[in-house]
């Protein structure tokens, strides 16, 4: 394999320039993991792509040599989607960070995959627009990674996920061809391959340019923070809000332990003694927001304290505690696992009690942070790796929480992706036939299983012979693998 990689490195240096090809062992180690740092693999080779042509040339070379490749953007993914392959090439797209076009009159932005999520909104805002998907990592995660992971965020309750905001992509397919999926106008004729590509976690190719939908900035945003004595009360308020037909931009919840961590880390100053806080964002036309805000205040009547953000600064403060919650638990625990599961929103109170039981049964603390509006839980399982057996107990508890998500008819991942981390859980959500069917698409795009192999699917499917008669101008999107967001 080593000889093969040397030959590949030589070909790539000639094709895209020596400065873009990394083979030094120490430098390679920089890329050994993504945001899920407990998995580490040093790649055989790293390519720092500067253009679509670089990506295409690299993938083509991999295809010719039958060498696997993994795409990586900012490397913030939390499921190991961008974990390198030991015998493969890691294609890093973070240098492809050109905003090609902001077209407000088309309500579109065209960007390269390495562009940082938040930078799209920054570029669009002067024109009165924003890019809606807002993973917690939006200050560092890239659009290419968002496309791979179908990233969500707090505001996807109202605005939808990445897949609802990507209208076109240039994709290098695993055989090295550059194809166009979707476009600037909606409803491109033919199969919705773009819909299959978004969220395919780098297993169908790499995207090199993405056309995004921009959304008109809301006239008004109002935010409240409601503190409840118990998490049940906060859950009941959430259900009442949704049940009343209000669609807030976001409804976020944190429990006492998560609040304690956030206070320790960023001094967000939430009301003392809260068993749970809710953060509710309403946005839209003035008159709608006023009417709905009054309604939400009424529905939060059980709260012992409600604060209403006086302006952007205070809104940012409310959100600061929430957005920093994952990192914040580092202040109250040496180690922790970030879980990501989904349940039907109405099951929230029941499932939280069950999580409490799991926590007690395994002797590990669990802090709960979640997108209450859409039932997306992010339990943080706290442990100390220095204590013998605790990491194992935390892992078991974390798995038991996913069991609950499945038991209640939810999902094993709402936004972090399957990646490397959750392949083993896929058969609990899907039948063998379901997984085989998904891999029919994989076989159409990547018959030799070179694009991010070992991710998403627990058992790879052999694709058989690829019919030659329709080969030609393919395309394919993928983006770089794995950067799920952090939310």
């Amino acid at each position: 394999m080593v000889a093969g990689i040397d030959a590949l490195a030589g070909r790539l240096r000639d094709a895209i320039g020596a400065e873009r090809v990394i083979t030094d062992r120490q430098e390679l180690r920089t890329y050994e993991c993504d945001g899920l740092a407990r998995f580490k693999v040093v790649p055989a080779l790293v390519v720092l792509a500067g253009s679509a042509a670089d990506v295409a040339a690299t993938v083509q070379a991999c295809a010719d040599a039958r060498v696997p490749f993994v795409a990586r953007g900012s490397g913030t993914g939390l499921s190991g989607g961008a974990l390198p392959h030991a015998d493969g090439v890691l294609i890093v797209t973070s240098q492809m960070r050109r905003i090609v076009e902001i077209a407000p009159s088309d309500e579109r932005a065209v960007v390269e995959p390495g562009v940082i999520n938040l930078h799209v909104t920054r570029a669009a805002a002067p024109h009165g627009y924003f890019y809606a998907p807002d993973p917690s990592s939006q200050q560092i995660c890239s659009i290419g990674g968002n496309v791979a992971e179908n990233s969500g965020g707090a505001h996807c309750l109202k605005y939808g996920f990445t897949t609802n905001h990507v209208v076109g992509a240039h994709v290098v397919t695993p055989d090295g061809e550059l194809v166009q999926l979707g476009g600037r106008a909606p409803d491109a004729p033919g199969y919705d391959l773009l819909g299959a590509f978004v969220g395919s976690e780098g297993t169908l190719g790499i995207t090199t340019e993405v056309t995004l939908r921009l959304v008109r900035l809301p006239e008004t945003v109002r935010t409240l923070l409601a503190a409840f004595e118990t998490i049940d009360q906060a859950g009941a308020a959430t259900s009442a809000i949704i049940g009343a037909g209000v669609v807030p931009a976001a409804v976020e919840m944190m429990d006492a332990l998560a609040i304690e961590a956030a206070e320790a880390a960023v001094s967000c100053g939430y009301p003392a003694g809260a068993g749970a806080v809710l953060i509710v964002d309403l946005d839209g036309p003035d008159a709608e927001v006023e009417a709905q805000f009054a309604q939400v205040l009424t529905l939060c009547a059980e709260a012992f304290e409600i604060r209403i953000a006086a302006g952007d600064a205070e809104r940012a403060l409310f959100w600061k505690g929430r957005k920093s919650a994952f990192a914040a638990v580092g202040r109250i625990s040496p180690d922790y696992i970030v879980q990501d599961g989904v349940i039907p929103r109405t099951a929230l109170p029941e499932v939280l009690h069950r999580i409490g039981e799991v926590s007690r049964a395994h002797g590990v603390r669990v802090a709960n942070v979640f997108h209450a509006g859409d039932g997306n839980l992010h339990p943080l399982v706290l442990f100390d790796d220095g204590v013998a057996g605790e990491a194992e107990r935390a892992e078991t508890a974390s798995g038991a929480i996913l069991d609950l998500c499945i038991e209640y008819g939810g999902s094993i991942t709402g936004e972090h992706g399957v990646g490397m981390d959750k392949t083993k859980h896929m058969p609990r959500m899907f039948t063998d036939d379901d997984l085989e069917t998904m891999q029919l698409v994989r076989c159409a795009f990547d018959p030799h299983s070179l694009a991010n192999p070992g991710k998403v699917f627990p058992t790879p499917r052999l694709c058989g012979e690829v019919p030659g008669r329709h080969r030609g101008a393919d395309q394919h999107p993928s983006q770089e693998a794995g950067l799920a967001e952090i939310f």
Binding site: A103, E107, G152, G160, F161, T173, V179, G183, A185, P186, D187, A188, P189, G190, D192, L193, G195, A196, G199, R216, L217, P218, G245, V247, G284, P285, A287, E288, E290, A291, Q292, V342, P344, T346, G409, G410, S411, T413, G414, E415, H416, G417, V418, K422, M426, M429, F430, T431, D433, D434, E436, T437, M438, L440, V441, A444, F445, G472, D474, Q475
Partner: protein, 367 residues
């Protein structure tokens, strides 16, 4: 000639058995729901059997608190909406051709004015059960709105025209029925100026529609009573105060037997499309428009018009496809036109239906 055998399974399992038998016998298959779009897409060779979904009906689940429903594919759209209405919820998907089923709506990916706010079937489907050509029963997605486990095959099957298998069940995210709605409409001359002015408002319309036959632009607002009143007043500063619903709202500009064309464009190019000699109607808010040509239009003239529309749509970043046409027109024109990524699409088709038995030739590029 003997009539084509029709099969009417009453369960996913029964449909699967039927497809297994059809595979063993090498039979070709066509699927029929409400029958409102049987004439859409290229003409099929006569299939060996027709699968009628009218036995696959009923709402399996409506979890109002979770704003989701699971429904069998043969259920008429109207029946689903009636089922959801008592809880003041809806599947926010328009029904341009009354009588359509849920499965047909998804398989043909039809949409209407409200796509501007709510998106289309692809945005609302959260889970799907499909019987593959070989009879394999397969699921993707689930019953929760937020879910990234596995490939999102619901999107692949949405708009696939029955060429990949049979959709037997869909899970959808739902929306509340708004407390109030209002239309604001006007005849306009400066289409570009008016559309830009509406875009500039922060009123979040559910739809912005245009109809070149009447030179009208109409805006739909939905929300709370107080909110809708205020927003309609804001729109009225651009369009005036006529608040009657247009009679052309949400309908295609053609009759049965005519040629029906769908034209897409980047938003800023919509006004340019309207300067052509063909009338257009549809969503100026998203760039999805429709044109109709009467059944007796000479095929040569349809072909010339289609060429013009294709050129204009291409320049506008979109496409022009013929949804339906009389037989003489079908013989003359390429209904689908150029398609990006066609060879990949063929590879997908080959994986799902290697013998090409499902709706063969109906879809893009002869798929």
């Amino acid at each position: 000639m003997a009539p084509i055998p029709q099969h009417r399974p009453t369960s996913t399992k029964e449909a699967a058995e039927l497809f297994k038998a059809a595979t063993a016998d090498g039979l070709t298959v066509a699927i029929r729901g409400g029958g409102t779009k049987q004439d859409w897409g290229a003409t099929l060779e006569e299939p060996d059997l027709i699968l009628d979904t009218s036995g696959l009906t009923g709402v399996v689940e409506h979890a109002a608190g979770d704003l989701i429903t699971v429904v069998r594919a043969g259920t008429p759209m109207a029946e689903l909406q009636r089922h959801l209405a008592p809880q003041r919820q809806q599947l926010a998907l328009d029904e341009p051709l009354p009588g359509a089923t849920v499965g047909g709506t998804v398989a043909a990916n039809t949409s209407g004015p409200r796509r501007m706010l709510y998106g289309t079937a692809r945005d609302l489907v959260i889970g799907m059960t499909v019987v593959r050509a070989d009879g394999t029963v397969t699921h993707s997605g689930g019953k929760v709105v937020k879910n990234v486990a596995g490939y999102d095959l619901g999107k692949l099957f949405t708009g696939s025209y029955g060429t990949l298998g049979l959709i037997t069940r869909c899970a959808f995210r739902l929306h509340p029925v708004p407390e109030a709605t209002a239309f604001v409409r006007a005849r306009v001359r400066d289409v570009a100026g008016i559309l830009a002015a509406i875009r500039g408002l922060q009123v979040v319309p559910s739809a912005v529609e245009i109809d070149s036959a009447t030179s009208e632009v109409a805006v739909l607002l939905e929300g709370t009573a107080a909110g809708v009143r205020a927003r309609a007043a804001t729109v009225a500063t651009v369009l005036g105060d006529d608040q009657a619903k247009p009679d052309w709202w949400g309908t295609y500009p053609w009759r049965p037997g005519d040629t029906g064309i769908k034209v897409t464009a980047a938003l800023s190019r919509v006004p340019a499309l309207l300067t052509g000699r063909v009338g257009l109607r549809g969503s100026a808010g998203t760039g999805v428009l429709y044109a109709g040509l009467p059944a007796d239009t000479p095929p040569g003239e349809v072909a010339r018009t289609l060429d013009e529309l294709r050129t204009a749509a291409r320049d506008a970043g979109g496409h022009a496809i013929v949804l339906t046409a009389p037989e003489p027109v079908r013989e003359r024109v390429d209904l689908w036109g150029p398609v990006d990524g066609l060879s990949l699409m063929w590879r997908v088709k080959h994986q799902f239906d290697p013998d090409g038995r499902f709706a063969a030739g109906r879809f893009v590029g002869g798929i």
